[in-house]
């Protein structure tokens, strides 16, 4: 079995935008495309309060989290100073226009991380 799986084409990701990639276990992976057509992959979770980074505004080689506007570097997944903290980054391999992610990484990296729970479900979880 090949270690790398084709996910999509660069053109499937909006420029200065993102797509969410669902995997068998764990949270989604967010794919980002810069205006230079570079593609980066991060766990779709801000290190601050778990905001979905895929929903942020992409600029330069960074994304601003839609929750509290932390700036996260796309290359390493780390927050810009003075904020501290990183989100797991996934390897991306480009073959022509095709974006590939590593299956081994997808199956194992950051499987146990979750997003904060909101709403009535959250209340029940807290009480129990």
């Amino acid at each position: 079995m090949s270690e790398w799986k084709k996910i999509c084409l660069v053109s499937d990701i909006p420029m200065l935008g993102s797509r969410r990639v669902e995997r068998a276990h764990g949270m989604d992976v967010a794919l980002f495309r810069t205006d230079g057509d570079a593609v980066f992959a991060l766990l779709d979770r801000c290190p601050h309060k778990g905001g979905p980074l895929s929903q942020g505004i992409v600029f330069g080689n960074s994304v601003a989290c839609p929750m509290h506007n932390w700036t996260i570097g796309l290359a390493g997944g780390c927050a810009s100073a003075p904020d501290v903290g990183c989100t797991p980054a996934f390897k991306v391999r480009m073959e022509g226009d095709a974006v590939h992610l590593n299956l081994q990484e997808l199956a194992t990296l950051a499987i146990d991380l979750t997003r904060p729970v909101a709403g009535p479900a959250g209340k029940q979880a807290a009480c129990a």
């Binding site: 499937d12 909006p14 979905p52 600029f59 330069g60 009535p120």
Partner: protein, 814 residues
């Protein structure tokens, strides 16, 4: 590539700040060498007074320690005074023969204390007050001697006198003018200051002219023993501190034949006008004829110089407004601007000499141009902000003297006051930052600007309602000499242009795209940041409707997906209910959608709508389709609700049909994007059940027609709307409301609510444009209708509304 060589002469605050800024943006561009005449690393000169007073130690005021220079690979030569520079060979030479070549040279030689040319000035025990050595000499003298004389009743002289007194000396201050600090205070405040310093034990000789200083004989040979005045009187002393002002240190620059006039003359890029390779920042530099002696302008200069050195070369320094406060603990004074008044100005004065409080505000053309406060300076930063913003104060004039809390410009009911707050009090409610944490960060990290405090503590980084308070704390913290700010606030760190300049350029040059704005205005970043891009997207689309194309990737996620993002990454959906009215079939459809998509929570909002919370992003498209109601825009910087009461159709008190009025307003203006969210309310009678007094536009039906109120706000701080006008017909309500909204759309800055917009431009301006100019009002109303005509409903016309539907579908890695 070989690195260029940057040499800096002077190791003070302005210069080192320039290096810090440079290392931030271009860490690998230069090999850096620094020459400092003092034996210390860079320290905070502003805090010498607290050191003298025994409130802090020398170690505590070091800003960049030895390790900092090492970590940044900076070659540091201390105790080496530079004596010559060869501009042809580009070599710097120090007194001891040390040499360094340069490609770029930064001169930051600061200033020298001015020494009066009196006979006896070279005696032992006669010193200036400028650096650590002087401070140490004073501390040393205080242990051995009893009497001290400070010549100079200005800021520095009084700080020196206070410090020496606290160290146990008997101190007299000699001042040539009749009142103290005459450059910062008017005579009333100056006299109050003198009285309270006298109470603390200082003695004063006012209007006294010094003739000479006399030395002793015998054991005191060569040391000062007394000071003699022109009128023949004498005063015995063991120490004389001269604090009569500073002069830009231009000796070296002059020897290099750089043009000097009140300092080394520099351009807006901080390059000397004689030699473009050579920069100068700080107290030695004269920019547009002014050499600044306060830290904040110097830091602004540092930023510009660093930007230019980093070869971005687009920053410009355009001067600063300054204010003053005295760092003598327990004495509050503040002054800024034209506090002395002058031609064409009016003064508002409050004087309570017994209570030790004096306030003077100087107003010109309905704007605050100067302030002088003594005894109660809590509102200093507020007045300074008014001064800087050039905001019209006509509307708040009667209340202006009573300060920010009475005007309600700070917090809910405005009872937060920085000075009286305990350290444990919370300042930033969003991020849970208390006053103590802010003060600590200011002290420990040597913060000077609001931006720095925001970055290091997160205070004021979210909703921003505490910004005024943080500014006050910054101002009153010993470490933060928050004494000046740039005249113009940049939009964000991508540019030096302010919002207005960007708006003007877009209109004047008909710029239609974001990237064209970046190019035209020389942005520092290729595609901006999360703060400027949404603003500029709004500016181009609102200025050139139908021509400029909306860029969805430059909108916040709420506007990109037309729903509100929630903390767990799900969304909430609010269908539009015109004027708050709904029907059984709409409610039935909503109920079915809740069941079908297992939406966990249904809630009625504060704006009379139904909110469906917890919708998965994948379901959004279908939820909209199944609800079959228009988009509520509850997520957008756009017209949200029109809140109404039931009006005369049902209410026994009602005088007008407020529900119909609300429906008409909402149908006419929905899909209207603005600088920020916009809310209307319509009440059917003066009981005002729809709470029209705190809305962007509030309408109240009365027997004879409709009263209109504008620029109210129920949000971050409650602001009561201004009464605007009274009209007779519903058509007029529509026209006036639309015209006001369009004016706000065209002139407001992004994320500026109507209340702040109207505060900035003045209610008079809005009245002139809408009430007095009938043609102009009709034109504005037409422009708005043109912009809204055919605007798509983002829930049903994905393509026209530039909704990228790919965002709703996940890719699969399985």
């Amino acid at each position: 590539m070989k690195k260029s060589k940057l040499v800096m002469i002077g190791n003070g605050m302005a210069g080192v700040r320039t290096l810090e800024e440079l290392l931030k943006i271009a860490p690998d561009l230069y090999d850096i060498t620094v020459f400092g005449a003092e034996p210390h690393p860079n320290y905070n000169r502003i805090l010498l007074s607290p050191v003298l007073a025994g409130e802090q130690t020398l170690d505590q005021i070091v800003l960049n320690d030895w390790a900092w220079y090492e970590d940044n690979h900076i070659t540091l030569h201390v105790s080496k005074k530079v004596v010559s520079v060869d501009r042809v060979k580009r070599i710097v030479r120090a007194e001891d023969g040390t040499e360094a070549e340069y490609d770029r040279l930064l001169i930051c030689t600061g200033s020298n204390p001015f020494i009066l040319p009196l006979p006896g000035k070279d005696l032992k025990g006669v010193i200036a007050y400028r650096d650590i050595a002087d401070t140490n000499a004073m501390i040393e003298a205080a242990t051995q001697y009893k009497k001290a004389v400070v010549i100079g009743g200005g800021l520095l002289g009084l700080e020196a006198a206070n410090g020496l007194m606290l160290r146990g000396m008997d101190v007299s201050v000699v001042h040539v003018m009749p009142t103290l600090m005459e450059r910062q205070l008017d005579s009333v405040a100056g006299k109050l200051l003198q009285k309270s310093l006298e109470k603390r034990g200082l003695k004063f000789l006012m209007g006294a002219q010094t003739q000479d200083l006399q030395g002793g004989i015998g054991a005191d040979e060569g040391r000062v023993t007394s000071i003699r005045f022109k009128d023949g009187t004498e005063l015995a002393t063991d120490l004389v501190v001269m604090a009569v002002g500073i002069r830009p240190n231009t000796q070296l620059a002059e020897s290099m034949r750089l043009h000097c006039d009140k300092g080394i003359v520099v351009s807006d890029t901080m390059q000397t006008i004689t030699d473009a390779r050579i920069y100068s920042v700080g107290e030695c530099a004269a920019h547009r004829g002014i050499a600044y002696g306060l830290v904040a302008p110097l830091f602004e200069q540092a930023k510009v110089a660093a930007n230019h050195l980093a070869q971005f070369g687009i920053g410009r320094y355009t001067g600063s407004l300054t204010s003053t406060k005295l760092k003598v603990t327990g004495i509050d004074l503040f002054s800024a601007g034209q506090f002395m008044g002058g031609e064409g100005t009016e003064e508002i004065v409050m004087s309570d000499p017994f209570g030790g409080v004096y306030k003077k505000l100087v107003i010109k053309d309905d704007k605050l141009v100067g302030a002088c406060l003594y005894g109660d300076t809590v509102d200093g930063s507020y007045y300074f902000k008014l001064l800087r913003d050039g905001r019209s104060v006509g509307e708040i004039r009667e209340k202006l003297m009573f300060g920010e809390s009475n005007i309600g410009d700070t917090g809910h009911e405005g009872h937060s006051k920085a000075a009286t707050m305990p350290d444990s009090a919370e300042v930033c409610g969003c991020n849970g930052v208390n006053k103590g944490a802010i003060c600590k960060a200011i002290k420990d990290k040597g913060l000077f600007t609001l931006d720095e405090v925001r970055k290091h503590t997160k205070a004021g980084a979210s909703c921003g309602s505490c910004t005024g308070l943080v500014e006050q704390i910054l101002m009153f913290s010993a470490g933060g000499d928050y004494s000046a700010t740039p005249k113009l606030k940049a939009m964000c760190s991508c540019t030096d242009h302010g919002h207005q300049a960007v708006r003007d350029a877009i209109r004047k040059n008909k710029i239609l795209t974001i990237s064209a704005v970046y190019q035209f205005m020389e942005w520092r970043t290729p595609n901006g940041c999360a703060s400027c891009r949404p603003a500029i997207n709004y500016y181009v689309t609102s200025t050139w409707p139908k021509e400029a194309k909306d860029d969805p990737q430059s909108r916040y996620i709420n506007e990109r997906s037309h729903a509100n993002i929630q903390k767990d990454g799900t969304y909430s959906v609010i269908p539009r209910m015109w004027g708050g009215e709904t029907s059984a079939s709409e409610l039935r459809r909503i109920a079915d959608v809740v069941d079908k998509y297992k939406i966990p929570t249904v809630k009625v909002t504060g704006g009379q709508r139904i909110d469906l919370l917890g919708v998965k992003k994948e379901d959004l498209q279908n939820v909209w389709k199944d609800i079959g109601m228009p988009s509520g825009h509850a997520y957008a910087k756009a017209l949200r609700t029109v809140k109404t009461c039931v009006g005369n159709e049902w209410c026994r008190m009602g005088t007008q049909d407020s529900t119909q009025m609300g429906k008409d307003l909402e149908r006419a203006m929905w899909r209207m994007y603005g600088p920020h969210k916009i809310k209307f309310a319509v009440s059917g009678c003066p009981r005002n059940c729809a709470e029209s007094g705190i809305k962007d536009v509030g309408i109240i039906g009365v027997d004879s027609g409709w009263e209109m109120y504008i620029a109210g706000n129920g949000g971050i701080k409650t602001e009561v709307a201004h009464f605007f006008t009274k009209v007779k017909t519903a058509a007029e309500v529509l026209e006036y409301t639309g015209a006001f909204c369009e004016l706000y759309r065209q002139e407001g800055w992004y994320l500026e609510r109507t209340v702040h917009y109207v505060n900035r431009v003045g209610l008079e301006h809005v009245k002139k444009k809408i009430l007095e100019d009938h043609e102009g009002r009709k034109a504005l109303w037409e422009q708005l209708q043109f912009a809204l005509d055919g605007e798509p409903d983002p829930w049903f016309d994905f393509k026209d509304a530039s909704v990228d539907t790919r965002q709703f579908e996940k890719l699969s890695a399985i």
